[in-house]
């Protein structure tokens, strides 16, 4: 593999953590891990549901499901779970528009739900997602898959599947870009407040 000059095309102060190729390989690896851990291709396995958290968790969940289908032949239902109404910081920010919630037709009852998000940081989004999920039904178990874990947890929450662990400072921001939402695939690290 040719050495890559990371960040060469990025403006000053911004560093590319994952290239488009890295994102694809990372999602593929996570799909393999999901198949291995959940044994979803075994006949009596608990049925798995992938729920993406908007904005970028939603396309990630679809990609993960496509990879899982490709590697195992099992088509896992996907959905979207918006957590805005369950956030604990609504009164600290301007009005947030609601995202879409789209649960699979058979719901989440007695399924193994894997929540999918782009970046795991404080853990508060996942806390909100667990509350939202409780109102949506009663899964058998809940797991968490994230493309990037950047640390600095404020709650006792950890991910079951991590694409990449990135030690960061609180003065930095991690931006995941996806073809579906941003026109390209990349994970970028930059100083807080710099234009994205």
């Amino acid at each position: 593999m040719a050495p890559r000059d990371r960040g060469a095309a990025e403006p000053a102060g911004r560093r590319e953590l994952l290239s488009a190729g890295d994102v694809a390989r990372t999602v593929a690896r996570m799909a393999h891990q999901v198949i291995e851990r959940t044994a979803l291709d075994v006949s009596d396995a608990t049925p798995v549901v992938l729920l993406g958290i908007p904005t970028r968790g939603a396309p990630l969940a679809s990609r993960l499901a496509a990879r899982v289908a490709e590697f195992s032949g099992v088509h896992v239902p996907t959905g979207v779970l918006d957590v805005t109404l369950y956030r604990d910081d609504l009164r600290r920010k301007p009005t947030r528009p609601l995202g879409t919630t789209e649960l699979p037709p058979d719901g989440v009852d007695d399924r193994l739900v894997i929540l999918v998000d782009d970046v795991l940081y404080s853990g508060r989004t996942i806390r909100a997602a667990l509350d939202a999920l409780r109102d949506a039904g009663r899964p058998r178990a809940v797991q968490l898959a994230v493309l990037v874990d950047r640390g600095h947890r404020e709650l006792p929450i950890r991910a079951d599947y991590v694409g990449k662990n990135v030690p960061t400072s609180r003065t930095e921001e991690v931006h995941v870009q996806l073809q579906e939402t941003d026109g390209r695939d990349a994970v970028l690290l930059q100083r807080k407040g710099d234009p994205a």
Binding site: D82, L85, L90, R91, R92, R96, L98, G99, D135
Partner: protein, 310 residues
């Protein structure tokens, strides 16, 4: 958004954001066993009704409760209003007691604006739930939500508002909101039931319902407000009904896709025939259902954000 006092001056982006939120809330709660969201936990909402109301008060109360706010109802009878307390003092009392939002219905036009002036300093939001013959913005928003559901979009649609426009806050709020959202509004009423400066409104005016029917995407029937009429506005109820009532024959003259709305309470046989009100074309119960989601959305946009610096 700090207050919701009128649709006059409400910009298209804000109105659309509220309608989008309402649509999403409806979608989220659809088919759910427990219709409860934790979003407004710990917020206190007071409804203050100085005029009779069933659907608006109940709808606001349900909306608040489904968002987990604490909802307290104050009516003019049974409160200190009966002892002669002024609107201002009652409002300041409620704000001092910890109300985050006051929802007010009052027979005087402009009451909600006055209230907002007194309560802004206390940080309390005000929602106008109908002030005299002025505005009823949440009714217009729920009508718009229903029209979006039934017709797909509002821009470019031709919508008639028929009947007692003069006394109708619903008509005023709808004229402003629907035209802001790009609809073409035609008012159909006898000259005696049109306001004096209707020529300054962004609408066309007609006195003949039958001529308008074939070109409409929606028709909104208004209640004849006998309680606000002091004098002869039309010769008889029967004559009014013949000229401006939505009969079955008139329903047939509407295009196939056109929707019939009525803000309620309806006077069956007066402005709308009973069979028309119960037909598939009428969206009257859908309007009531949407009322809850729209009011949840309004409370969300008023209360679920950081304090705005006034």
């Amino acid at each position: 958004m700090k207050h919701l006092l009128a649709t006059d001056g409400l910009d298209a982006d804000t109105a659309t954001a509220v309608l989008d939120t309402a649509e999403e809330l409806k979608h989220v709660l659809l088919g759910r066993e427990v219709k409860k969201l934790p979003t407004l936990r710990g917020r206190t909402v007071v409804t203050m009704f100085y005029e009779a109301s069933t659907r608006t008060r109940v709808s606001f109360e349900i909306a608040g409760k489904w968002m987990s706010a604490d909802v307290i109802n104050v009516s003019a009878s049974g409160s200190s209003v009966g002892k002669g307390e002024s609107l201002r003092d009652t409002a300041l009392t409620l704000a001092a007691a910890g109300a985050d939002c006051v929802i007010v219905r009052h027979p005087a036009s402009g009451a909600a604006h006055r209230l907002a002036g007194w309560l802004t300093e206390a940080g309390t939001s005000v929602v106008n739930a109908g002030d005299g013959t002025h505005e009823h913005p949440t009714q217009a928003l729920l009508d718009a939500a229903t029209l979006r559901e039934r017709l797909g979009d509002i821009a470019g649609r031709r919508i008639a508002i028929v009947g007692d426009v003069l006394h109708s806050r619903v008509a005023r709020s709808n004229v402003h909101l629907l035209t802001t959202l790009g609809a073409e509004v035609v008012l159909v009423a006898p000259p005696t039931l049109l306001p004096a400066h209707v020529d300054r409104w962004p609408v066309t005016v007609s006195h003949t319902l039958d001529a308008e029917l074939p070109g409409l995407d929606a028709v909104m029937m208004l209640r004849v407000q006998a309680e606000r009429m002091h004098g002869g506005f039309f010769p008889s109820a029967r004559e009014y009904s013949i000229a401006y009532g939505l009969s079955e024959a008139r329903l047939r003259a509407l295009p196939e896709h056109a929707v019939v709305l009525h803000p309620g309470p309806m006077l069956r046989g007066m402005e709308i025939a009973s069979a028309v009100a119960d037909s598939q074309r009428a969206a009257i119960t859908q309007q009531v259902a949407n009322g809850v989601h729209v009011r949840m959305a309004v409370l969300y946009h008023l209360l679920a954000h950081e304090e705005e610096v006034a």
